[in-house]
Amino acid sequence: MAELFLVEAVNDALHVEMERDPAVMVIGEDVGRLGGVFRATAGLQDRFGADRCVDTPLAEAGILGAAVGLCMAGWRPVCEMQYDAFSYPSLDQLINHVGRYRWRTRGKMSFPLVVRMPYGGGVRAPELHDDSPETYYVHTPGVKVAIPSTPADAKGLLTAAIRDPDPVVVLEPKLIYRTARGDVPEGEHVVPLGEARVAREGSDATLVAYGAMVPVAERAADALAAEASCEVLDLRTLKPLDESALLASAAKTGRVVIVQEAPRTCGYGAEVAAVLAEKAIYDLRGPVVRVTGYDVPYPYWQIEDAYMPSVERVADAVRRLLAA
């Protein structure tokens, strides 16, 4: 075990996987010489050469489109999108090709590529360095999506994504890149896609969260400790969703609060709520409640704390639900 920050665990995963599999390559803006604007790819170009850790032109559709062709030539590209909102130009490639190409070949060709990016707000950054775009990715057929909240999971989920034969998007919570610190297994470490994690056991309410909202949910559980026993479920993979873990926790506590940083409407929390409505309604003792970002553009940072789901908003939602 090594104690690492979350972003260091990402870097560790890339080193281990590139060492293990010579077909793995990293491409993106500033990933080589600089080692990435967050240093997630630091040291890779020195270790594996400029052909396997490639500084690309500033062209996100070009990066992801080239990655499709690289897969066809036998590579397993890991594409870095520098920031969440900078990934939008690549959605054309993701929706029209990345998620469809295997299907188009009737399963004959695989596209084992990874798109990874730092996402989310709270970092006092200029506009469009703060988005939570997970729903766009989850909604795209043919693509899987994972979001870690701990250093160990950041390594394990990225490793699973790199080894997965299908395209996987990994969103990394930049807010906790260098605050989340924890034990990370050395060498190869896989956290299978599609398995949620009970971050904390509880009996009165379940707080469902992922990424940077997991620590918020945990702190809310702390704040509520005298009033209620809260379970925190870290989904880890958004697609495929670990339905059995979600339903088991809902059945156990009978109350669910979903915490999501992205805007509310059609956000991932809506999908979680729909699954609960379809499959857990007889286990529930109250309505499913969402605590989310608002349906507004992510704001300038002087008021971003008012946008982000806070410990107070989550605790308030739990109290309302318990009183219902």
Binding site: A73, Q93, W103, T105, G107, D164
Partner: protein
């Protein structure tokens, strides 16, 4: 490093007009000439029969490529079988030049799974329907092949309209920077449905764009199969020599509707269409071969009858395909299907009365 010059102004031609304009020289054997002729006739016949099949309701909406055959056959003739082709829908039948059965392409236009081929069987990527988004794929493939030390060239086909797309720009940018062994082949038929090329760009020629990406821009007469062949062969040689990408602008005039659902009478210059039909690529090559004594009328007829028979068999085979199983909905999207698929399929089968 070779210097990149501004694009050529005039269009390269090899085939003369049989009158004042003389025929040029080209380094092809008699057999190669006849192979190329068969390729052209095969594509022409595929296209003309497809239009009939569409009118008979036997295939769906179809993107006509009449008078694009010289661009497709001439360029593919300059490739090796190991080189990869990235077609747009305008090149839907280009796989025929790689041994793909015509029934496969007809099945594609019939919306049947038998039309969705394995690219590795022919080194022909899937048909790209969105405009220009396959340019980065060809570039990534060519770059990735070079990184692996494999001698494979990629060629991407797209139209004049595609050069306005961001993905063309990003793909071409990558191609230049990575020195990818790729050919960007633009079939400039001067129309993007109803939008003329003058409304597409203020650049004097599309090939002028090439200099901005650090690659040569070449202009050829797109209905002159030998000019297309020679330009592509030069580009292939550059690519194999490690000198990077080439942009080829092959110019024709769209003499048929964009697709079966289009009515060009609203916007097109009918006189110009008639002029183009007089100079269309298949007839031009046929007259050339007759002039130089390589082809005889009886052989030409034999070739045409043979490919007509191929098409008759192909449409029969496509129509004989069993109906697609709705269960295919859940196949192939993922290597490991989503957990929800099993339930979805069971329920669907029950509703369809198939359980």
């Amino acid at each position: 490093m070779s210097q990149v010059l501004p694009a050529e102004g005039g269009l390269r031609r090899v085939i003369g007009d049989g009158q004042g304009l003389p025929d040029g020289e080209v380094d092809l054997t008699l057999e190669e000439h006849l192979d190329l002729y068969r390729d052209l006739v095969l594509l022409r016949t595929y296209d003309e029969r497809s239009l009939v099949y569409h009118r008979q309701g036997r295939i769906g909406t179809y993107a006509i490529f009449w008078n694009h055959e010289a661009m497709q056959a001439g360029s593919v003739f300059a490739l090796e079988p190991r080189d990869w082709i990235f077609p747009s829908y305008r090149e839907s039948a280009i796989g025929l030049l790689r041994g793909m059965p015509a029934s496969t392409v007809l099945s594609w236009w019939r919306g049947h799974p038998a039309g969705w081929w394995n690219p590795e069987d022919y080194n022909v990527a899937s048909i790209c329907v969105p405009i220009g988004t396959h340019v980065p794929h060809a570039v990534g493939f060519a770059w990735g092949s070079r990184l692996k030390g494999e001698d494979r060239v990629a060629i991407a086909y797209f139209g004049d309209g595609a050069t306005s797309e961001g993905s063309f720009h990003e793909g071409a940018t990558f191609a230049g920077v990575m020195k990818a062994p790729v050919i960007l082949f633009c079939n400039n038929n001067q129309w993007a449905i109803s939008t003329p090329v003058a409304a597409q760009t203020a650049a004097p020629t599309l090939a002028d764009k090439a200099i901005g990406y650090g690659m040569p821009g070449v202009r050829v007469d797109g209905a002159d199969v030998l000019a297309v062949y020679e330009a592509t062969r030069e580009a292939v040689e550059r690519a194999r020599a490690g000198e990077g990408p080439t942009f080829i602008e092959a110019v024709t005039y769209r003499a048929a509707p964009h697709a079966t659902a289009d009515d060009p009478s609203i916007y097109i210059d009918e006189e110009r269409v008639e002029e183009e039909k007089e100079n269309e690529g298949v007839g031009r090559y046929e007259r050339y071969l007759l002039r130089i004594g390589v082809l005889t009328d009886s052989y030409a007829l034999e070739v045409k009858n043979k490919v007509l028979e191929i098409m008759r068999t192909a449409i029969a085979e496509a129509e004989a395909e069993p109906p697609a199983d709705p269960g295919l909905l859940f196949e192939h999207a993922f290597v490991h299907p989503l957990p929800s698929f099993e339930n979805d399929l069971t329920e669907l089968r029950r509703i369809l009365g198939e359980t």
